[in-house]
Symmetry: C2
Subunit: 262 residues, 2 copies
């Protein structure tokens, strides 16, 4: 293959118009990355499974192993793939012990999550309804589209600590019910993966300090003057499609939201 010729895919193929972008050189390994991404999206390789070896992929795409390697490097850095020396490269999954809490940043002030024990999950509510304009915008739907809303409380050591409301697009999550959620032991994103083929790969959170309303007080068993962390999350699957809106209230008297700036 001629080096540097964008022959596998051409991201410069735009609709044109005034002020169209420059020729947009795209390195080979980026194109390979795109092809691997496509296979991940299409479900050719499922979460937890091994993808073909670097040599196999190099042969398949007619490039050198080093080029495939660089593509996989980036996908591994984005946590879409996991490399295991001597074994292979695997599709990342939420059903792994050490990745379980990648998206939950609330930590106990003393000790770690191990010592704290597993969270107790209580589904309060789960129903289908029509998306409001606000929900629709967040999930890239249209107002009135079917959405699934759920509410739950997470408790640590018997103490209610997190109250979460979440909204999911109705179509991809057809068949999800309160029973299904309650019966499932383990993490929600694990269920989404195995039952609905929806893998969350990235999320954005907006955090504020708020005071709870009466209903929230009752569920968290706190007074009206207890300041709470409001955490609004939008989670995305492959190709940046929003797949979940989640609004959490965190009690932060014995826990804190941990963040690393780098």
């Amino acid at each position: 293959m001629t080096p540097n010729s964008p022959s596998l895919a051409d991201p410069s193929a735009e609709s044109g118009g005034p002020g169209a972008a420059a020729p947009a050189f795209s390195p080979l390994y980026q194109q390979i990355k795109g092809l691997i991404l496509q296979s991940l999206q299409s479900g050719e390789w499922k979460p937890g499974e091994a993808i073909p070896s670097e040599m196999d992929l190099a042969a398949r795409y007619r490039v050198s192993q080093g080029t495939v390697r660089k593509a996989i490097d980036e996908l591994a850095a984005e946590h879409l793939l996991v490399r295991r020396q001597g074994k292979g490269t695997f599709v990342a999954t939420h059903a792994e012990q050490h990745v379980q809490y990648r998206f939950l940043r609330l930590m106990p002030d003393q000790g770690d999550r191990q010592s704290e024990g597993p969270a107790e999950r209580n589904i309060i509510d789960c129903k289908r309804l029509r998306a409001s304009a606000e929900i629709a915008r967040a999930l890239a739907l249209r107002s009135g589209d079917s959405v699934l809303q759920a509410r739950r409380v997470l408790s640590f050591a018997g103490r209610p600590t997190i109250l979460e409301d979440l909204w999911l697009p109705g179509l991809p999550f057809k068949g999800l019910t309160a029973e299904r959620l309650s019966q499932h032991h383990g993490h929600m994103y694990e269920l989404f993966e195995t039952e609905f083929g929806v893998r969350m790969v990235r999320a954005e959170e907006k955090i504020r300090a708020v005071l709870p309303d009466a209903a929230q007080c009752a569920l968290l068993k706190v007074g009206r003057n207890t300041p709470l962390l409001s955490v609004e999350r939008i989670a995305y699957t492959y190709n940046d499609a929003p797949m979940e809106l989640r609004r959490g209230l965190y009690l932060t008297d014995t826990h804190h939201y941990r963040n690393v700036l780098s």
Copy 2:
């Protein structure tokens, strides 16, 4: 050089004892990375300056360009170096427009920071004192060691929004005064870099929701029942040495703390 022989540095050199670690194979590029890191710490290459070209470094360390490249790749991923195609590789600095706010995650709900305009900074207080046990622990000092404490208010569009207390180890920041802080226009970490040779490279934050005390209310001009975001930060320089403890109170009625989970 013989491949894979850890001849440049030997991280396995430990104090021994029972349960001492295995031989600890260390790849060449990691050793090169360590050497570059040393040059950064020692100030051989200063923030904003270019480091030698990849070819020069390869010759200097007697390895191939590819090995140097991989070392630089990691340092660039950690934001310690910045690559600029056609120009060179530069030591990262806080004195760059697009990196200005890497450590401040508070964003306006509407618009971006550009439209909001620059923050107004008011130094309330700045004094030297002896470290309490708590402060000493956070900064890896001993109780009673000299520390510098400062308090300031940041306002956006004339509205007080952030109240910050910060503690710095006395020794590295000898000569820092309230005047120096007030006169400096621009960012604090920029001042630390240029005036004291202390470059912050990483930080950890613990976030909680709290209610303010009377003094905090007065400075932020809010009522006692206004929930605020409490952000406790420890910032680290090279080699993970803590160099700053900062406690911030953020008003989140028109702003939010933004975080990306990936």
